[in-house]
């Protein structure tokens, strides 16, 4: 069955070899799908996956193909409806151009116009960024995934449609391309084939940021054409502002979940903790990604155990806007980003806390700490800090007794891009692990040079259609390779190994990716957060906190 599927895919690939991209103009072709992914070309994985062959990415159903744009690579991340008429297509192309103009308008895009201009006007196309991109490499160097590809399309559209110059100028700059609906739809999808990890920007000798260009394209589509993935917009920021959480959990349900968690703490670990909820004037308002409550409640428990044992004056919030740190606006829309951030700040103000501490969620860190910093004025400027240094302080304060021998298994650490490369939080979590995990081993590269988990920029929550296949086989691939290499000496499945991924979205990507590769059965690898490792090493705890199963 699998072989047949691969054969089919190879045949498709052979058919399309004729259509291989030989010019930027090919992106404007109107003859169907542009790129066909071939698992045979994907980056090879190390032992014991050296003979692993990925199944082909599931094709969209006939109905989906008819309804949704998929002419980039056969995937549909945004579910762009196919326009019914040519007139409708023209309207959308015109709106795309009007949005493009707004990206370069100082008022409409004060938020990012300077970095955008710098990146659009100064790329020398030296390709230094290409080898830094895990998606480009993992896919077997598919041209459309090259970091500069989408920026180059946009650059040529801008040259032709927004700049004066005429035919000769367009010829010289390679901008003699036709803008049509297929190009617009492909560009929108292509903006969702980059995790915005910014390794490319880090390597660029000039400082051009293709991750930012990706985000600006996403923003154009959201803010002008109301086109964004369901998971980020309607079921993301909109739902969060309506119900209190992007998971749809309302305040009453949130309190019920807290009850369950307290009960589990009692039943499983014989620990009695009454979670502080809406405590006015607390020192710390701790905000978790709500995914933790639903998928990894042990993370919530571990934080509570540590904070209580350390005697921290802290609280959780049960009010709308106060219990889910998620801010998917970071990935696609400046307005939604600002609205969600202001809701978080509003709760902290209402409770009169001294500071907000971000739980283990990378994008929430970045959204509320550095990014939202420049939309806050007056009383809204409330201090925000990361849980990592707070935990470091507690671990080394001597308030809690640890026995590192309890963590007697190989551990490696994944650096979430948002906290490492975009915020420079690198050492606090490492200091904890070097102390509490005797078999800690670094991945290579790590720290600010890390590779993305493959779930960045919202990919971890994209569960629709065939996107998970792409994420698991391509965008997670480089991270999986790193994990295997880090544990290369201990790959026997009887030796349990732990990938510490202190970020909810990263954990989402790990959950699906490790399951896809059957990594627990094959290699004994599980993943989890940082606080779980801390609690697991506590002397007081009667039984191990970490459970060896892939959740």
């Amino acid at each position: 069955m699998l072989n047949r599927a691969i054969d089919t895919n190879l045949n498709e690939s052979t058919n399309t070899n004729k259509k291989k991209i030989s010019s930027i103009k090919d992106f404007t072709r109107q003859d169907g799908q542009l790129t066909f992914l071939n698992p045979e070309n994907y980056m090879k994985l190390p032992y014991p996956y050296d003979n692993w062959v990925d199944p082909p990415i599931k094709e969209l159903t006939a109905d989906q193909k008819e309804r949704l744009e998929h002419s980039l690579d056969g995937l549909s991340a945004i579910a762009i409806p196919v326009p019914a008429t040519d007139a409708e297509k023209e309207v959308k192309v015109a709106r795309f151009l009007s949005g493009l103009k707004k990206l370069f308008n100082k008022e409409d895009n004060w938020t990012f116009i300077q970095p955008l201009l710098l990146s659009m006007e100064n790329c020398m196309k030296c390709q230094t960024c290409s080898d830094e991109c895990p998606i480009y490499i993992s896919s077997g160097r598919e041209e459309i995934y090259r970091p500069i590809f989408r920026g180059e399309i946009l650059r040529r559209i801008i040259n032709k449609y927004l700049k004066p110059g005429g035919k000769l100028y367009n010829k010289f700059t390679g901008s003699d391309i036709e803008l049509n609906w297929d190009t617009v739809a492909r560009l929108a999808e292509l903006a969702y084939r980059c995790t915005m990890c910014r390794r490319c920007a880090q390597a660029c000798p000039i400082g051009v940021d293709n991750g930012l260009i990706t985000r600006e394209i996403r923003k154009l589509f959201s803010q002008e054409l109301e086109l964004a993935p369901e998971e980020l917009h309607n079921s993301g920021t909109v739902k969060q502002m309506k119900t209190g959480s992007s998971t749809g959990t309302n305040p009453t349900a949130m309190l019920d979940i807290i009850d369950f968690i307290e009960e589990d703490l009692r039943d499983l670990y014989n620990i009695n903790i009454k979670m502080p909820i809406d405590k006015k004037g607390a020192d710390i308002l701790l905000i978790h990604n709500f995914g933790e409550y639903l998928s990894w409640p042990e993370n919530i428990m571990a934080f509570a155990i540590i904070f209580e044992k350390a005697g921290i004056n802290w609280t959780l919030s049960s009010e709308m806007g106060g219990y889910d740190s998620v801010n998917y606006g970071l990935f696609y829309d400046d307005v939604q980003l600002a609205r969600v951030a202001l809701e978080h700040i509003g709760i902290a103000k209402k409770l009169g806390v001294r500071k907000i501490v971000m739980g283990e969620c990378g994008h929430a860190h970045k959204a509320l700490m550095p990014i939202a910093d420049r939309i806050l004025v007056g009383d809204n400027i409330i201090p925000r800090e990361s849980a990592f240094p707070v935990l470091e302080e507690i671990v080394f304060s001597g308030k809690i007794k640890f026995d590192p021998k309890k963590n007697n298994f190989p551990v490696t650490l994944h650096d979430p891009c948002n906290t490492a490369r975009s915020m420079g939080i690198v050492e606090p979590q490492r200091k904890i692990m070097r102390y509490l995990c005797p078999e800690f081993v670094e991945m290579e590269p790590h720290g600010v040079n890390n590779y993305c988990c493959g779930g960045g920029s919202g990919f971890a929550i994209f569960q629709g259609k065939n996107f998970p296949d792409w994420r698991n086989s391509i965008s997670f691939r480089m991270k999986f390779k790193q994990i295997l290499e880090a544990f290369q000496e201990n790959l026997d499945p009887s030796i349990h190994k732990y990938v510490c991924a202190p970020c909810s979205n990263c954990k989402g990507a790990f959950r699906d990716g490790l399951t896809y590769y059957n990594a627990f059965e094959k290699c004994g690898i599980i993943y989890g957060g940082l606080v779980e490792l801390i609690v697991n090493a506590m002397v007081d705890l009667e039984k191990p906190f970490i459970e060896w199963e892939l959740k």
């Binding site: 991209i21 030989s22 930027i24 709106r95 949005g99 707004k102 100082k106 008022e107 409409d108 004060w110 938020t111 300077q114 710098l118 006007e121 100064n122 196309k125 030296c126 230094t128 080898d131 830094e132 041209e143 010829k171 010289f172 700059t173 390679g174 880090q202 390597a203 000798p205 000039i206 940021d209 803010q223 002008e224 109301e226 917009h233 909109v238 502002m241 309506k242 119900t243 709308m320 307005v335 609205r339 202001l342 500071k355 550095p370 990014i371 910093d373 420049r374 939309i375 007056g378 201090p383 800090e385 707070v390 490492a420 490369r421 975009s422 915020m423 420079g424 939080i425 690198v426 720290g447």
Partner: protein, 311 residues
């Protein structure tokens, strides 16, 4: 001949104006949201591994040490040695480094020639000995720098052209303009070499031409190849600011204003005032979920009906 002198004046003038306007083009953009990227060079104790002040608890109560020297060192290594390209794209560095160094040295050689001219024009007769020593130093230094610049630029440019043509990864991205830029520089280098002769081994024609420019003396220089070369240089000065070669100046902004711009916002700060200003900017984005107000401040605080009705 007068036309050529006038063309050179014009091109230098336009060159300076266009560079200033390009710098202002970036400098006058509004303050943007933070988009820092680590390592940030001025993080004195942490830039080695890419850390930031966010690694500390209560960071807003502590004074963050910023090292301007560390910034300078990183920029120096980056600009002079192209350190990033060396580490991340060695194949390109073999050509890009001599190319860039050649251009820097060309600028240095011009500066030395201008200094010679100034020295020549300002020399007083009672400073004969000092002047002679300075002239000698400038003479030999100009020759050394000038010839090194010519060799490096020539081979660097040639290498970059060959790489662009032969390396598949550049193929679909190459545009006629990419080649024009490189060929222009190559032709400038070749024409410069052609101006050299047994009687002009030390850029003497250049020095004469520069001196004439400074003294408004429009004497004819009877070397056709030199006149062609100066015409090309003048056109290049007009062309350069219109191309991506201006990344030379953009790089300041990409590093200092974006990657390393990590200033936190405090109550009553200048930054807070700039934010207040930005929140009053108009918003004309037309997606339905945005259209809740006229300014950024209103749009960020007023929710669309489907959200606000649910609350």
């Amino acid at each position: 001949m007068l036309v050529l002198y006038l063309l050179t004046y014009l091109s230098v003038f336009v060159f300076i104006i266009l560079i200033i306007s390009k710098i202002l083009h970036y400098a006058r953009t509004p303050m943007h949201l933070r988009w820092d990227l680590y390592p940030v060079a001025h993080e004195a104790d942490r830039n080695e591994y890419g850390g930031s002040y966010y690694e500390e608890t209560e960071w807003w109560t502590k004074k963050n040490k910023k090292s301007r020297i560390a910034e300078f060192i990183v920029m120096f290594e980056e600009i002079i040695f192209l350190k990033g390209v060396y580490h991340n794209n060695r194949k390109l560095w073999y050509y890009s480094f001599p190319f860039h160094l050649g251009l820097y040295l060309t600028t240095a050689a011009f500066t030395l020639m201008i200094l010679s001219v100034i020295l020549d024009l300002s020399a007083a007769s009672n400073m004969y000995w000092q002047q002679s020593i300075a002239e000698d130093i400038l003479f030999y230094l100009t020759n050394a720098v000038g010839y090194t610049a010519l060799i490096l630029t020539f081979f660097g440019t040639l290498g970059l052209i060959i790489q662009r043509v032969t390396d598949k990864k550049f193929r679909i991205y190459n545009t006629p303009m990419d080649f024009i830029n490189l060929f222009f520089i190559l032709i400038l280098t070749i024409s410069m070499v052609l101006t050299l002769s047994p009687s002009n081994t030390s850029f003497i024609l250049y020095k004469i031409y520069l001196k004439n420019l400074f003294t408004f003396n429009f004497t004819v220089i009877a070397r056709p190849i030199f006149l062609v070369h100066i015409t090309l240089v003048s056109i290049f000065l007009l062309y350069f600011p219109l191309t991506r070669m201006m990344h030379l100046f953009a790089k300041y902004f990409t590093y200092h204003e974006v990657r390393w711009e990590d200033s936190p916002n405090f109550k009553g700060s200048k930054l807070e005032n700039k934010i207040k200003q930005a929140l009053n900017y108009g918003v004309s984005w037309s997606a339905p979920h945005i259209k809740t107000g006229k300014t950024w401040g209103e749009v960020a605080t007023k929710l669309p009906p489907e959200v606000s009705n649910a609350k």
